[in-house]
């Protein structure tokens, strides 16, 4: 998972991971914004605009104009995630959609497992709806250690994907890698 290529067709791209995945999503949003409109749906309070600006400044003389291409909205509970996707789906969306941390609110202890499952199924229904008009990129984090059973949510999302990247945990690599000695 060195880089996420810019999407070429209306496919669902899923990226599973922590801060590395987040960084890549932010970079991706910036690059997409250079080409035209982008929708950023932030489901985990993760879409910090400042790294996007920094990336844009490397790529263009006019980061403000590119930034204005990004339409963003946030959802803080899984009910809001569902409502946000439904609302976005009801518009004629033709630009790429980048969804940050889709499952964050599904890991909330106040949400019952079966309720989460039901809401996620409905949310993924809307994601499929979005694919009719545009490519969709989704990032998800693995569940916190308190809810290992919610890894099933991640699998559910991955099962929908046309392409799925999984960020490797450093220890899980299993292969000895020579790191830099001095950084």
């Amino acid at each position: 998972m060195d880089a996420i290529r810019l999407p070429t067709s209306n496919q669902l791209y899923v990226i599973v991971g922590g801060s590395g995945a987040l960084q890549r999503m932010l970079t991706l949003a910036a690059r997409l914004a250079l080409r035209g409109g982008v929708w950023v749906l932030d489901c985990g309070n993760r879409a910090n605009p400042l790294p996007v600006v920094r990336e844009l400044r490397r790529l263009t003389m006019d980061p403000v104009r590119a930034l204005a291409n990004i339409q963003t909205a946030r959802a803080f509970t899984c009910y809001q995630v569902l409502a946000l996707l439904e609302q976005t789906c009801s518009r004629p969306v033709r630009e790429p959609v980048v969804i940050f941390d889709l499952l964050a609110s599904f890991y909330d202890e106040s949400v019952r497992y079966d309720e989460g499952q039901r809401l996620l199924a409905a949310a993924l229904g809307h994601v499929r709806g979005l694919l009719a008009g545009a490519p969709v990129m989704v990032s998800v984090r693995p569940p916190p250690t308190d809810f290992p059973e919610r890894a099933a949510f991640v699998q559910r999302v991955c099962a929908e994907a046309d392409q799925c990247w999984v960020e490797e945990a450093p220890s899980a690599a299993g292969v000895y890698q020579q790191g830099s000695l001095w950084t």
């Binding site: 950023v40 990004i70 959802a75 509970t77 609302q87």
Partner: protein
């Protein structure tokens, strides 16, 4: 029969409706019963609503069903809904739970509105409201009318009978009690805390003889009442049909703080308040709790125990019910999409300036009165409205939030104005202070609540509009001050500190107050004029100022202290006393010339306190730290002192929940702390005197630094007690 009096309690009473307890004008306590069916609503696709209809029709007893059109605050058109009504108010919740399980895809409204809030919306009722009821022989209410308003400034209150049940030795779960004390007006009786049923019998006798309206206890929720009931029968509730209701203990997060609430014991027809488990008892006491209940319309027992966030939410629900607006069960409203550029320009909080570090003389502190709520009302900020700028006149049709807040805000301002006019000896001043303190908490949280993710009537854009309004108001105030020739020393969210040669009385600042009000349309008041005030730097870097670390003396000699150790609840009482003692020494200085002798006296005082510590004369109780356990004990990887102390307690069989405070002493040795509530007796020789010396010196250093005595200098001075201090004072 017609009854006139005050409404004491209201709760669900089976299919008959609600039970009402009245304190009548002839001092009787009357239980009446009123028919009061309650409803919830479901919305969704037609076929699903029809399926719900069929499912409900087959139930026994069949709830009332109707198709209606109602208003959702966030939807333009009226919404077709299915109304589901139960005659038994207590039956609504279980029925709704089943419906929600069976039809999870529908949207629900009005499903979890507290019963008293529903009653308040229907009848204008609230705890201790003056009311008139007409009832038949069996006590069934035929007509009910409320005669006053929660916004009355000086309401006539009933002569309440209050029974106190005290455990003079403190927390019974830490130290087993030996005495039980009952108190009723001037009567007081102390009993030995013996084994067996005797304590329950004494309480029973007292309840039967005195028939109190309010039972005030220490640890009644968490230990005393359950323990007494275990020992024997006592008619704790007034209503024989309902013994009592317990609510389990729980821990939750609120504003980034972990909060622990113990188990609760609620009574029927009588009010139980556990002073140790009540919210903010120390801040506003019973008067504040009663005020809270009046304005939120929550039962007194609930108002005593809930967070202000829940209180403000209930007030909003009441407004919504009155207006026929649906109360969503789950918030689904989402942010409207906007460009990332506008996110950058709106997603930030209040203005917190960096003050001019150091000592300043003759400084006026002026504060906007409840700035954020005032902005919400002034600019009509509500999830369903378009906010209006400060420069425009107030909106003609205020939204749900401003309508909820305006009466509370006006009442608070009116009470404060009234209190300021009362003479100092007037007992009403104390009562007004308690009531305005309770209102203040509700007003403080209503802003945060607007941005809270689960708030039914919250919306981020509205939350951002409030901070934007607050920033604008503060900047206008700054500009007004500068235009009038003041130097602005500090700005902090809703207040500013200003200085101008020759301005030293309240009158000198009046033109500024008038000008700020003219430019913002918001009420602003003089907090006071400081003889001197010192803004402190960060402890980490002496050149970096910190927004909320300062102390000063007003012209009347009273002290104001923020962000110092003395203000922290986990500081040992002795350290707090040392720091406050030093400040009181300095507060005696009326003019800059007096500061030098005052500082010299303070140094002497510090030296004496350190000597007392060295000589073992400071009582151990005064050296106790009381720190909160910030998470469950097993989740600590590097245990804090509080966690180590909690670990010792756990080993001794005493559990501490996250959010609870642990009291401990600093000791020498590997563990470094000693949990105060361990059963073993403490050996004073283990005490880590050096640690306490360090804490006291650190607290003292904050006080002396603005007077030109740097921390290193202070430590050196205290090491060499004989040396005469030579310090530069900025006078």
């Amino acid at each position: 029969m017609t009854y006139e009096g005050w409404l004491l309690d209201l709760y669900a009473d089976g299919p008959r409706g609600v039970a009402l307890w009245l304190v009548t004008d002839d001092d009787r306590r009357v239980r009446l019963c009123q028919r009061f069916p309650v409803r919830f609503f479901a919305a969704g696709p037609g076929p699903r609503l029809r399926a719900l209809w069929r499912w409900l029709r087959g139930r026994e007893p069949a709830p009332g069903l109707a198709r209606e059109e109602r208003r959702d605050l966030f939807v333009a058109e009226r919404l077709p809904v299915l109304a589901v009504e139960t005659a038994d108010p207590a039956g609504l919740q279980p029925l709704f739970a089943e419906v929600e399980r069976e039809f999870p895809d529908l949207t629900y409204y009005d499903a979890d509105v507290p019963l008293t809030v529903r009653h308040a919306a229907a009848f204008g009722s609230f705890p201790l409201a003056r009311c008139r009821a007409e009832a038949d022989e069996q006590g069934n209410v035929r007509a009910f009318e409320v005669l006053d308003s929660p916004w009355a400034l000086d309401p006539a209150l009933p002569p309440l009978r209050i029974l106190e049940i005290n455990l003079p030795e403190g927390d019974p779960q830490r130290t087993p009690p030996t005495r039980l004390e009952l108190r009723f007006r001037a009567w007081k009786q102390s009993y030995p805390w013996v084994a067996g049923s005797a304590p329950a019998a004494w309480l029973r006798a007292a309840l039967q003889k005195l028939d109190p309206d309010i039972v005030l206890t220490d640890y009644g929720d968490t230990w005393l009442l359950p323990e007494l009931l275990r020992r024997g029968q006592a008619p704790l509730s007034r209503d024989p049909a309902y013994p009592l209701r317990t609510v389990e203990e729980h821990t939750y997060f609120s504003y980034g703080q972990i909060v622990y609430r113990g188990q609760q014991v609620h009574l029927y027809g009588r009010v139980h308040i556990d002073r140790q488990n009540a919210m903010l008892w120390r801040d506003y006491g019973l008067e504040g709790i009663l005020e809270n209940a009046r304005v939120t319309a929550l039962p007194i027992q609930t108002a005593a125990r809930i967070s202000p966030g829940t209180g403000i939410s209930c007030m909003q629900m009441q407004t919504a019910l009155r207006d026929g607006v649906l109360v969503p069960w789950h918030k689904q409203q989402v942010e409207q999409p906007r460009s990332m550029l506008s996110l950058i320009q709106s997603d930030f909080g209040g203005l917190v300036y960096q003050p001019r570090i150091g000592l300043h003389f003759e400084v006026g502190a002026i504060d906007f009165v409840s700035l954020y709520p005032a902005v919400m009302v002034r600019c009509n900020i509500s999830p369903e409205t378009q906010a209006r700028p400060l420069s425009q006149p107030p909106a003609p049709n205020p939204g749900l939030i401003p309508r909820t807040l305006a009466p509370l805000l006006h009442k608070r301002v009116a009470l404060k104005t009234w209190a300021a006019k009362l003479p100092a000896w007037d007992p009403r001043r104390k009562s007004i202070r308690a009531r305005t303190a309770a209102q203040k908490w509700l007003l403080v949280v209503c802003f945060g609540y607007l941005g809270y993710k689960n708030a039914r009537f919250g919306r981020i854009e509205a939350h951002e509009a409030v901070t934007a309004g607050g920033r604008e108001a503060l900047l206008r105030a700054k500009e007004a001050a500068e235009d009038l020739g003041f130097a602005v020393l500090h700005l902090y969210v809703d207040g500013l500190w200003v200085q101008q040669a020759g301005c030293r009385t309240a009158e000198d600042f009046e033109p500024l107050l008038a000008e700020v009000t003219r430019r913002t349309g918001l009420p602003i008041a003089l907090d006071g004029v400081y003889r001197w005030v010192a803004f402190l730097p960060s402890r980490g870097n002496r050149r970096v100022p910190v927004g909320n670390r300062y102390f000063g003396v007003f012209t009347d000699g009273s002290l104001k202290v923020r962000g110092l150790d003395a203000r922290r609840r986990d500081t040992p009482p002795w350290v707090t006393a040392v720091q406050m003692g030093l400040l009181e020494c300095l507060a005696q200085a009326v003019s800059p010339e007096d500061l030098k002798p005052a500082a010299a006296e303070a140094l002497g005082r510090l030296r004496r306190e350190l000597a007392r510590l060295r000589e073992g004369k400071v009582p151990l109780e005064d050296l106790l730290c009381a720190q909160k356990l910030s998470r469950p004990l097993e989740k600590y990887t590097h245990p804090s002192p509080a966690a180590r102390a909690a670990g010792q307690l756990q080993a001794a069989g005493k559990r501490t929940a996250a959010g609870q405070r642990v009291r401990f002493l600093y000791v020498r040795g590997e563990e470094r702390v000693w949990a105060w509530d361990l059963p073993q007796t403490f050996d004073r020789r283990c005490l880590d005197v050096g640690m306490y010396r360090k804490l006291a010196l650190r607290a003292a250093a904050d006080v002396f630094q603005p007077f030109g005595i740097e921390p290193e200098e202070l430590y050196a001075l205290m090491h060499n007690a004989a040396r005469v201090p030579l310090f530069p004072l900025p006078v």
